[in-house]
Amino acid sequence: MTPGPPGGTGSTFGPGSAFGTGTGSRPGRIGGSADRPAGTHVLARAEFDILAAGAGGTDGVLRDAQLSRRVLLLRAVVDSAAERGTPLQAELRHALALLSDAQRRDRAAVQSVLLSPNIGAWATHCLSRLRRSGPPEEDLAYLVGLAAAAAIRAGLDFEVTVRPTRAGVMFPTLGRADLPPGTGEVRVRHRGGSGSLELAGLETIAVGDATGNDTRVWRPLRLLSSTAGGERISVLLDDLDPYRGHQGLPVAGRLSRAEVADWQARLDEAWLLLTHGHQARAMAIARGVAAFVPLRATASAPELSASSRDAFGAVALTCPTDGITLAGALVHEFQHAKLSALLDLVPLHGRSGGELFYAPWRSDPRPVRGLLQGAYAYLGLCDFWQVHRASAGAPGARLAEFEFARWRDQVRRTLPTLAASGELTPEGSRFIGGMERQAAELCRAVVPDRPAAFARIASADHRTTWRLRNLRPEPETVAARADAWLAGRACPAVPPVPARVITGRPAFHMTGRIRLARLAVTEPEQFDQVRHNPGALAALAPPATVADARYVSGDAAGAARAYRDELVRDPARIDAWTGLALACRDLPDPAGSGLTDGGLTGSRLTGGGPLDAAPEEVLALAGEITSRSGSAPDPLGLAAWLAAGTAPPASAG
């Protein structure tokens, strides 16, 4: 999907493609006075079912529909701007006329620019602003650069006036002209025969120059390309376009040549992996992903990838640490791209009814649309790990076994939630049915015991932590229980009231235990070396503690004691509450573990007790008691008191 060199010679849209060439034919008008009526896009049922199984790509109708969407958006922006009386009306009309000329010369070249990711982001942003607050002139000026880029790619001779913005003049898919501060309107002249672009009389550049070198004015977009297994991928590295980070992503600035080389190396590694055993998925990614948008790593998100429904074809991500990270991120984000494109064509769910659900891959509660997107992305990743675990050598195979075991179960458990949400359309129900069949197929595969066991730990850890972070028990119940505890009475019997799900910011919190579980699977010798060393643990798997290492080592009783000590010091530490719940659940005989008062407490915690069934209730109660009394209750005694309905342990207060 990545546009080739300008002039149409490298276009990926050749004869016989979904778009055709359009050469020599004048397209008809469409709309109120159309030469022919506008048809609608039709998705073959077989293609829908392939997508539901997590396979397929964005070729054909999904890409055609994105093109139609871009055309509609672009025209809507121009018409809305005119209705709002923008002073740029003449420039916008000229830009449209230039686009139209370019279409007549080389339709495929124009389509390649219209389909570049940021056009969708820009047009959506513009239309939204136009409808809310009037003509955003700086935003609208982007259209002139867009039209110029399309005309350059079509090989037209033209001259056009552009207004530089704070971000210079962007020519999408080609590069950016950074003009001196204070530069007003400038003329840009292109000669199709020579491929030369004259910028404001300051500089003349060869747009097709593949060296990628910056000049005084021109900043070319760099193209990453890789070939493996006879297959090729080419992706623009977009560190220039002003709309590349429109959703508030922390985009990186202009990359150095060394940084570009790092990205190229990661792409080479990832492409080798993807083309080895994942050919169909690899080729779908090569045809569907047009650009990488480099992100800055932050303390809260050292590794992040993201994609936007509005920027079809772009993957935003921090520089991957290795090829497998990039391969996984590409598989994941391309699943989002496929589903987003499908949703633009076929509604799979209605408007959210506001209900929020547990998603095993996020720390925050998710609506149906988010849950579906996540499940679909992880279904694709499961397929990736399924293949990879059979082809990679250790430790890659161990990691693949762990990830495969973890996510296939989580996807399979999530799909019934979606099916029962009441928010799916009939097509949505059919789509979930296809996902369920694929997940069931993946779950039939045999996974070795060790990675399977650690995957279960990670899943239980995530779910318990999610409950502690996002569920709030009914306050009156918490208060009544705190009254009883502090008065030395038995836990009062109260009718069960469902906990409230709170809304939160997007979050990807991962406990130290999950990091350690992965380390124990992939690098068991290294785990053994560091598991008694608090400093090494915190460095390797932040924020892991010795209690976490004990738990991951299989010492549930030792871990429970350590977690209890942590919670007496800091009763608000959610990770420790999760650890205590997990450890108690795994204790074969809590009464004999040395944790308990004569066996009573332990017997009540067999299988985890309230810590496992409703950890948020124990956490809320501990917080209330600490707040009132000034001292933290013993967490195990408190959990046993909740379970038993008897008087608090003698040490309680």
Binding site: R29, S68, A76, S100, T325
Partner: protein, 58 residues
């Protein structure tokens, strides 16, 4: 494209061959194009969540 039995006919107008300069969005509100535009505007006004994030677990 002709729809076969069971195929999904979307509400999105096929504009892959449209002339950008000649496209007319105003007029009969019951055209395919008008319906496509209304859906587009609805999506923009109620975007839900445009961004899908993924913190690598690898």
């Amino acid at each position: 494209m002709e729809a076969a039995t069971g195929d999904i006919v979307s509400e999105m107008a096929d504009l892959t061959r449209a002339d950008l300069d000649g496209l007319v969005l105003t007029g009969d509100p019951n055209t395919v194009l008008s319906r496509s535009l209304r859906r587009l505007v609805r999506d923009i006004e109620h975007p839900g969540e445009a961004l899908a994030g993924f913190q690598s677990s690898i």
